[in-house]
Symmetry: C2
Subunit: 133 residues, 2 copies
Amino acid sequence: MRIGELARATGTSVETIRYYEREGIIPAADRADNNYRDYSPEHLATLTFVRRARGLGFSMAQVRALLALSADADTPCADVDRMVQSQIEEVDRRIGDLEAMRAQLSGMLAACGGRRIGDCGVVESLANRPPAN
Amino acid sequence: MRIGELARATGTSVETIRYYEREGIIPAADRADNNYRDYSPEHLATLTFVRRARGLGFSMAQVRALLALSADADTPCADVDRMVQSQIEEVDRRIGDLEAMRAQLSGMLAACGGRRIGDCGVVESLANRPPAN
DNA sequence: CTTGACCCTGTAGTTGCTACAGGGTGCATA
DNA sequence: TATGCACCCTGTAGCAACTACAGGGTCAAG
């Protein structure tokens, strides 16, 4: 299949696919006579894997590691589980950060009591309040 | 005050402060005879504002807008409230995305049933499962 | 024979910093 | 007096993970 088809099949842009190839995260495609890239079902599977892992928040480096682990059926599950577990922790951390931000932002709206910012706490809450902890 | 003091006072790195000045998000400091930057309390207030807004997830462009609004005491509160409200929505969107990721990741761990990935669903769940919706 | 949808390479831009390299300043101590 | 040290300066390059061209080739349909 050609790069455009692969792009549509995986919800990836053509330029991102070429970028992944340059980065070596997916293997280089074969080339047809006209120099167009020609992808196999294995490429499709690899790219699907990459996109899903990226969508779960794994970095490119982590995706590389996951691909390496997944290449060998004898890889102990624990190796992958550890990466998944620490990604869950990272996600939880980010959720916590965002919830703290959300609370601060809601507090700003609550501080708004006037018609003009000169009469109202909304801007002061940014300028003067101690860092949220 | 000198740049290092300002940095400590605001929890910002010296290079970030210089970066903000280059970007025009904080006004350029006066210079002492030795060409060292010399900051006023107004600089401190502005930088505090900037850091807090950045910490709430506002982009540099949004921080610029907030600074412009906050410069005039007659700015209607509603103008700022709108930005805060849409930032809350953005944060909620991100929290939702992260929670979906978290659920997928937990599902991967649950799919793990073997000792080697060849016997266990943890990797297949990345390669074959349809996109999470 | 031209239009249009594809494909190619290569390079530069994005966001918000961070990290040098290579140099100057100014005070305290040996 | 020398020298160390913490601090400051400018300028440029790097990071992640793409995204967006510019400038060109390919190929089937009308």
